[in-house]
Subunit: 245 residues, 2 copies
Amino acid sequence: MSVLQNAADVLRCFGNDCPDLTVSDVVRLLGMPKANASRLLKAMREANMLETIGDSHRHRPGRLMLDLAAAYRRSSMLIGRASEVVAEASSSFGHTGYISVRDGKEVTAVADFQGTNALRVVSNIGRRLPAHLSATGRSLLARLGEDEVHALYAGHGALADLTDQLSKVRHQGFAYSSQEATPGVDAIAIAVADPRTDEAVSLCIVYPHALVDDKGRDEMIAALARGAARIAEDLGDSAFVAPRI
Amino acid sequence: MSVLQNAADVLRCFGNDCPDLTVSDVVRLLGMPKANASRLLKAMREANMLETIGDSHRHRPGRLMLDLAAAYRRSSMLIGRASEVVAEASSSFGHTGYISVRDGKEVTAVADFQGTNALRVVSNIGRRLPAHLSATGRSLLARLGEDEVHALYAGHGALADLTDQLSKVRHQGFAYSSQEATPGVDAIAIAVADPRTDEAVSLCIVYPHALVDDKGRDEMIAALARGAARIAEDLGDSAFVAPRI
DNA sequence: AACCGCAGTTCCATTTTATGGAACGACTCG
DNA sequence: CGAGTCGTTCCATAAAATGGAACTGCGGTT
């Protein structure tokens, strides 16, 4: 096992609800001899992949890591375009918006735009959600073929339900969820892809259920749809389905 | 030289205006044999530190890196508190806000809040700026002692100027710049620290020069100052100087 | 104080990886 | 086609990572 893999495993530990790591945390989580863990963290510190918090033995991701999320966003034309659309929609409706990507059966937000309304959904970038349990995830899954979804969710209890939901998403051109992941919160999501790079992102607006009626929802769908359609046209995303409300 | 160092060097290449890297880019930038570069990028790909863009040979930071900036923010109480203050100020005044940290003679934004005004400064998170040439940087440098600043900027042409500016910042309790880094853009910044962890952050608002008069500026300083003072009190930052306008 | 347990670091012989020069395959362009 | 660029693979050598054990430093107990 190369050091790089071990270093990556350490970084992965930060993913969930683990804001910092000590040598013994790493020993426990990765089952590695503590001599190794100690040297690994030291090497990662020296490479600026980690830094200690204060003068304690707790580690968090280092400065080097801080810039990389930004570099990721800059590297993708698609994310840049999508961000413009969602930023515009977010500030005009006052609700919080996201750009997300799918990674297997999970989705992660890569960019977020805080809403301006007093009552708004607080965004938490970098948290992974199950793709089949969120509008944004389903908008991305709907871009796969039936067979790909079957392969991905083989043996998964939610497959039958999911298949139905996805065909609805494919027909409508957008995904919608009402109080699904979070009580009181609704979400709309539209996916668009760059055929050149084969990457797909989801444009998503989340809002308090109580604040938006069907008409308001349709306006937001229309706004996202206009932006997404423009992106799809410019990048040549032939699989894009213009949302029908 | 360990792989980890080399991997870190590769990641550092993404810092500035380099959204993606190929094997030969790495050879050129780091002066490494191309056999090495090829294997290194491959290993980093397998560790999810990098991913290829589409099916080309260009690489960008991988999914693993995407979550780490968020983990960094979560690991710091200080950044969380500062974000609340700047988010509130940003949305109430409509201007763009930042949270920044200093790293030697540079500052980096760790969080940003897009303004809502039609004319606003677009935020670019993850870009490093020289600390002595920005309000946010000077607000952080002002927290150092004279001797530390001298040591840091020994032999630097701007030291004399900087010393003057910093004593002004220390006296005022905030840093201000008018059209310094970007024409037409002014900035105000206030630094606050967590004595427990020895980390300091700068709360910063940037705005179009033409849009804000002295009165408006003072209102924003007051808003930031209130939030920063609260944080300083809660965390026990005894070096904090309440801004006097 | 002396003792203990715990977290982290250092030591060292052994095993595993990384290194870099060169040869090789894939592709583009004139 | 032939030259040029780019990336990958091969191989002997050099440089690492490894893990068990010994060691250090720091509270908290008797």
